[in-house]
């Protein structure tokens, strides 16, 4: 079966592990458990009628305590850049991280997940900014690991963006 390596990237506490858990196990935990290191999960999805094994690399969120190793991204077919929509700073951090990724390994299919959309009343990302991101070529999804909204859609969209081989 075709395997595709997908990395989860973004700041700490944006919901990367929760998105994977929701996608793979359909579970959500209200409590925040910080990730140290890397956890690899797998899920088979159907892309254009063919089964594809998504190998999901849930990589710890970057902050002052931990810097991401670019070697983890080796062989990556695509990545989900995750942002906490209720913390504007995480978008800036994600875009800075994205610049580093592109400069290190070149352009790879990616989806920008604006997560925690269930907290829309605390949303800090302006619609105009989202429009700008779309104009800049980003595929955007308003996800919620809590409710499950758009989670599968984001992963499938990413799978479809990746080359079939």
């Amino acid at each position: 079966m075709l395997q595709k390596k997908i990395c989860m990237l973004g700041s700490f506490s944006v919901g990367k592990s929760s998105l994977v858990r929701r996608f793979v196990e359909s579970i959500f935990d209200e409590q925040y458990h910080t990730t140290i290191g890397v956890k690899v999960d797998k899920k088979v999805v159907s892309v254009s009628g063919a089964d594809v094994m998504l190998v999901l690399w849930d990589i710890y969120g970057e902050d002052a305590l931990q810097t991401m190793r670019m070697s983890y991204l080796r062989g990556m077919h695509g990545y989900l850049l995750v942002v906490d929509g209720t913390r504007r700073q995480t978008l800036d951090d994600a875009l800075a991280l994205n610049d580093r990724v592109v400069s290190e390994i070149g352009k790879v299919p990616a989806v920008l997940a604006l997560n925690k959309f269930d907290l829309a009343d605390q949303w800090e990302i302006e619609p105009a900014q989202e429009t700008q991101l779309t104009a800049a070529g980003w595929t955007l999804q308003h996800t919620s690991a809590k409710t499950g909204d758009a989670v599968e859609k984001a992963f499938l969209q990413l799978a479809q963006l990746m080359p079939a081989k």
Binding site: I36, G37, V38, D63, R69
Partner: protein
């Protein structure tokens, strides 16, 4: 047991699994196959059977690339994989870390089970990140409160604008001496209130850097001795009433003068706060003394009392903390001394308190001496200042009459600005919002546009953007002066960023208004140098500087007046100087227009339209404030806040409260409106009749 076996058993006991790399992703186990390996990767390999670890673990497969490179390069030491987690057959998550090293020419892979230490590490990271999240949350809360504070300051300064304008107008009328005294008192009190509002903003705003930037631009150094004398003069009656002697004590060694870094109005407030503090604790029949001393490069000022001294259970520095209240809570909210501390420290000084050896307390502060340059400027400015204070202020016509458009939604503020500009000889017209301003600019040419920031339908910033866009095709440049209710450096910066030429702070001082308008217009109509110095000797700066002076206007130290709890009629009489005609006109305008504003609020609530609710409530709030109806204003403010927060479930209850307050005010204003006009002529000279624009 051979030494190797002992070592291998030891490693296994420590949570290690040892492998030799043979190539193609395959490994040979060295020593024992620990139980956690069995949990993750199943049964141990038999005999010399190879293990395809790269196939079993995508993480190891990835790490193998780094490891192979390391082995190939024959580097010393080891290369480390970082932590990763594998899930065991029993469902447990097992944290691991691999390292590659070379040993006797063999390529060795060491995998360590971190379960024992991982929990602790996880706990540290969790705590650190939770703290970071809490910190972020706290910062957001502070930001929200600052926004709220700015809204409150805006609301508080709005009616002050009107009051100050009314006083300025009255002062220039031919008033009998007795009445002039009251007008002066009213003006002083309204300016005092303005200072207090700004004090609150400064004390609580985290934008201290911006504040500091403003204050390091010292153009005039205040004389500490003059400030001390003024404080004594102002406070003497209050001290006398309490049978406490207030005097100026030693101020020896001042041959170099007493000019210091700082701002006279704020030093007045520092002395005021320290004297108020002393007055609270000094017993009857005792003395309070202000003294000054020369200290290398500094001036040391103190206020000595003969009271009980500092509390034993409180450190002196705690007295200056935010919300600190002294002995037996005789003080107020605990803001006064905090204000003194942040102000003095901002100027590079220090403040403190101590119990005096001979009994009583000493509260002191120390400020750096002003530099020669600042001092010489101060002398000139000080002379100008005292001349300004003494000379009766008269309206002098501007050198050149300008056409000015005033865009301001609060009708009374608009009328006052227009009136003040007309008195100066300018031609002024008013509109109630940005859209009307755009329409007026299309029809007529105006030298200057005075633009309020917060207006319904189209704000000042949106209007500026529209004008500047339009100018891209016309090549013209409209002079725009923004009016802000907040008056911080941020606002000024924001206004300039938005394309405005200058910024004015509410309440707008007459002098500042003229200076800003005429300085801005000089770009279009060059006038003879010094043309306006007859009325305003200090006017030489650009519009932005002119606007900034509003916050630094001369202080009027506090007198002690009770809180104003008068009814609507008294309030109106006070704010209009008893001008019955103006009161009736205000009442009539309110009765005609305000019900529509209330209807808009009702409609917005019914339609669940938060933006419309905020706009309509803001407008009504401005009208209500003119009548000094605090409960009605509070109810309107509440509705505005609900609208802004898009929190409409509470809106019906809020509306009901607003409606009942509104009805009460309406009744009172109807009574005013229907009262027969007094036949006796008002002692106030009515201003020339002007057609009121019914723009709403």
């Amino acid at each position: 047991m051979p030494a190797n076996s002992i070592f291998e058993s030891f490693l296994a006991g420590q949570g290690y699994a040892l492998f030799e790399y043979v190539g193609d992703g395959d490994f040979r186990l060295i020593g024992e196959w620990p139980p956690w390996c069995a949990n993750i990767w199943g049964a141990p390999p038999s005999g010399d059977q190879l293990i395809g670890l790269a196939d079993k673990s995508p993480f190891l497969e990835n790490f193998l690339v780094d490891a192979e490179e390391f082995w190939r390069a024959r580097l010393p030491g080891s290369v480390n994989s970082g932590n990763w987690i594998e899930r065991g057959a029993d469902g447990r998550e097992i944290p691991l870390e691999a390292s590659a090293r070379s040993l006797d020419g063999k390529r060795i892979l060491l995998i360590q089970n971190l379960s024992e230490t991982f929990g602790q590490q996880q706990k540290w990271f969790q705590t650190a990140r939770n703290s970071l999240l809490e910190h972020e949350k706290l910062l957001k809360e502070i930001q929200k409160k600052e926004i709220l504070l700015h809204c409150i300051v805006h609301d508080l300064t709005q009616p002050l604008s009107a009051l100050n304008g009314v006083f300025h107008l009255l002062e220039r009328e031919n008033l009998p001496a007795g009445l002039r005294k009251y007008v002066k008192a009213g003006e002083r009190e309204s300016q005092r209130q303005e200072l207090m509002i700004r004090g609150i903003l400064e004390a609580f705003s985290s934008d201290l850097a911006a504040q500091q930037a403003r204050e390091t631009k010292i153009s005039a150094a205040p004389d500490l001795l003059a400030c001390a004398k003024q404080a004594i003069e102002e406070f003497s009656p209050a001290f006398r009433e309490r049978q406490i002697r207030l005097s100026l004590g030693a101020h020896a060694g001042g041959s170099r003068g007493w000019r210091v870094v700082g701002d006279a109005s704020r030093i007045d407030r520092i002395f005021g706060n320290l004297l108020e503090n002393a007055m609270r604790y000094a017993p009857k029949g005792t003395s309070v003394t202000i003294g000054l001393q020369d200290q290398d490069g500094f001036v040391f000022a103190f206020v000595d009392d003969e009271g009980p001294g500092l509390p034993l259970d409180q450190r002196p520095d705690q007295l200056f903390a935010l919300f600190s209240r002294g002995k037996a809570h005789a003080g107020k909210a605990g803001l006064g001394l905090y204000f003194c501390k942040i102000t003095v420290e901002r100027w590079g000084g220090a403040i403190g308190a101590e119990t005096r050896e001979r009994g009583g307390s000493r509260f002191w502060f120390r400020l750096p001496r002003a530099t020669q340059t600042a001092e010489s400027k101060a002398t000139a400015a000080g002379q100008g200042k005292s001349a300004e204070r003494e000379k009766p202020q008269k309206f002098k016509k501007a050198e050149k009459s300008l056409r000015i458009l005033v865009a301001e939604d609060a009708e009374l503020n608009r009328d006052l600005l227009i009136e003040l500009l007309r008195k100066r000889g300018h031609v002024a017209e008013g509109v109630a919002d940005g859209r009307q301003a755009l329409a007026a600019l299309e029809k007529h040419n105006f030298d200057v546009l005075l633009l309020d920031e917060e207006m319904p339908r189209m704000t000042g910033l949106q209007t500026t953007a529209a004008i500047r866009r339009r100018e891209l095709t016309t090549g013209k440049h409209q002079i725009i002066i923004g009016i802000s209710g907040h008056a911080t450096e941020d606002d000024e910066h924001r206004f300039h960023e938005a394309g405005m030429d200058a910024a004015l702070a509410k309440p707008v001082e007459v002098k500042t208004l003229y200076k800003a308008v005429e300085a801005a217009a000089q770009n279009l109509h060059p006038v003879a140098p010094h043309s306006q110095h007859e009325t305003d000797p200090a006017a030489a700066a650009g519009p932005a500087d002119a606007a900034r002076t509003s916050a630094d206007s001369p202080a009027h130290p506090p007198a002690h007046s009770p809180a104003d709890r008068d009814d609507v009629v008294t309030h109106l009489r006070r704010s209009t100087g008893g001008n019955e005609k103006l009161i009736r006109s205000l009442a009539a305008t309110f009765l005609a227009d305000a019900p529509q504003a209330l209807a808009r609020i009702r409609s917005a609530v019914a339609k669940n339209n938060a933006a419309e609710l905020a706009g309509a409530a803001h407008l009504l709030k401005g009208s209500l404030a003119i009548f000094g109806a605090p409960k009605a204003v509070a109810a309107a403010r509440n509705m505005e806040a609900l609208g802004r927060a898009d929190s409409l479930p509470d809106a019906p209850a809020g509306l009901s409260a607003l409606e009942s307050e509104f009805a009460l005010l309406q009744d009172e204003l109807r009574a005013i409106h229907s009262t027969p006009r007094p036949k006796a002529k008002s002692r106030l000279k009515p201003k020339p009749a002007r057609k009121r624009k019914r723009s709403r």
